[in-house]
Amino acid sequence: MLIIAPYAQKLRNGKENPKNYPYWKELVQEIQKNEHIVQIGLEGETQLVEDFRKGLSLLELRELLYESWMWVGVDSFFQHFAWKYNKQGIVLWSVSDPLIYGHDKHINLLKDRSYLAPNQFLWWENTEHNPNAFVKPEEVLYHLDYKTK
């Protein structure tokens, strides 16, 4: 079983969080061919797979994390949570800097540092969502394949 944590916190201005990965549908379609996926998140978020577990407690998340062999997510609390429990995963970066907010333990996929927000410490409401800032699903799949081998 593989966990996906697809969304960062909702923004107060209603805009798309610039950390949200734009190619989940394509990515999930490919992974699902061989793998059961559990999506974690909150009520109101777009459902990407059949098994969508909303509003889990930290205890429940930890149990789920231990059951999984892998997880894929964006830069949200979950990557820190998995780091705390020593569980490696894939983090899909765009505008936030993995050198500041990331953990070496994970596979940190950043397309290019030129897409990073110039100021890393402001509200993300000030940054536009840019689909070009993310790696394509093929690259994520490559790293997943590598992990299985």
Partner: protein, 329 residues
């Protein structure tokens, strides 16, 4: 050499003690690298038009003292001091607008600050005697410890005969900048601001010193000055914050007014922080008191805002290391 900023906060003293203070600064045996006069007057004036100030500014230029006249936000002198604290200088010499330093004061303060730091713990701040004629105290027996603050005169109110480590300072002193923030939760009157600030340096592990042969004359006046507010509730408000902070004793306040992920990252450094008392948003990650309680206790939480701090520091390292820097562990 480490750079020294001299910061003078002024209000209501354009034509009384401020010119004397500026003359005393430009007559120091060690000159500051920069002088900033923070003008907090309700009705500001262009002092370049005043003959007396024209002379002062010309002499500053003649002596090649980099100086600046900055307009303050009218929020109280703690906001001014925090501006000075965050300008990137290694040391800040804060001089009140009614405090006239003898010519050797900065040299003495700086020498002690830098020389004592070489042999012991780093010095956080150094102060000399602040003497008000007619009110000079005998301070030989004073400890300068925070626990004695209500039971003894301030050690700087008397002639200091030998250097002594203390836990808080008063009025004008030289301090290591960028280590501890001023409490911006205080009211405009900023009652106890320097005690809270200097004690904060002490609590962060820096030594505070009072030294001999270093006299500043305090021309205490009933009018003018940065504390010319008279509203009693402001004093009560500030006194409450001050007492709350003193009550913490040797506990280290941790304030996590931030996201869930930040709490998780912070939790990794918690074992390295002595005697913590935590205020936060996610008790399921770390057992904590509420942020509302922190606000009530400290008045302002900006000094613990990790994002503001990383921005100030131009941070390039990890979030975990930023927390380590903030909490000095």
């Amino acid at each position: 050499m480490d750079k020294v900023l001299c910061s003078v906060a002024t209000r209501g003293r354009y034509f009384t003690s401020l010119p004397l203070v500026l003359f005393a600064i430009l007559n120091q045996t060690k000159l500051p690298d920069k002088l900033i006069i923070f003008d907090d007057n309700d009705e500001i004036q262009d002092m370049r038009k005043e003959p007396l100030y024209q002379h002062i500014f010309s002499i500053l230029d003649f002596k090649k003292i980099d100086w600046e006249w900055a307009f303050a936000e009218k929020k109280g002198q703690h906001h001014i001091h925090q501006r000075a604290n965050s300008l990137g200088y290694k040391w800040v010499w804060r001089v009140d607008d009614d405090a006239i330093p003898e010519p050797n004061v900065l040299e003495q303060l700086y020498t002690y600050a830098t020389e004592v730091s070489k042999v012991g713990k780093p010095i956080g701040a150094v102060g000399g005697s602040i003497l008000t004629m007619g009110m000079v105290s005998t301070v030989d027996q004073c400890t300068g410890k925070i626990e004695d603050i209500d039971n003894e005169p301030n050690i700087q109110w008397g002639l200091i005969k030998e250097s002594k480590f203390v836990e808080h300072l008063h009025c004008s002193f030289l301090y290591r900048a960028g280590i501890h923030d001023y409490n911006l939760g205080l009211s405009r009157v900023a009652h106890r601001e320097e005690t809270l600030f200097s004690y904060g340096l002490f609590k962060k592990g820096y030594d505070l010193l009072v030294i001999p042969n270093c006299i500043t004359w305090h021309l205490k006046s009933p009018s003018g000055g940065i504390r010319s507010e008279t509203k009693e509730e402001m004093y009560h408000h500030d006194e409450k914050i001050y007492r709350n902070i003193l009550e913490l004793g040797d506990r280290t306040p941790i304030v996590l007014n931030c996201g869930l992920g930040d709490h998780i990252v912070f939790s990794s450094i918690l074992p390295d922080i002595p005697n913590p008392i935590i205020y936060g948003c996610y008790p399921e990650v770390l057992p904590c008191k509420s942020i509302a309680e922190a606000q009530e206790t400290f008045g302002d939480l900006d000094q613990w805002n990790i994002y503001k701090k990383m921005d100030e520091w131009g941070w390039k390292g990890s979030l975990e290391d930023a927390f380590r820097k903030l909490y000095q562990c």
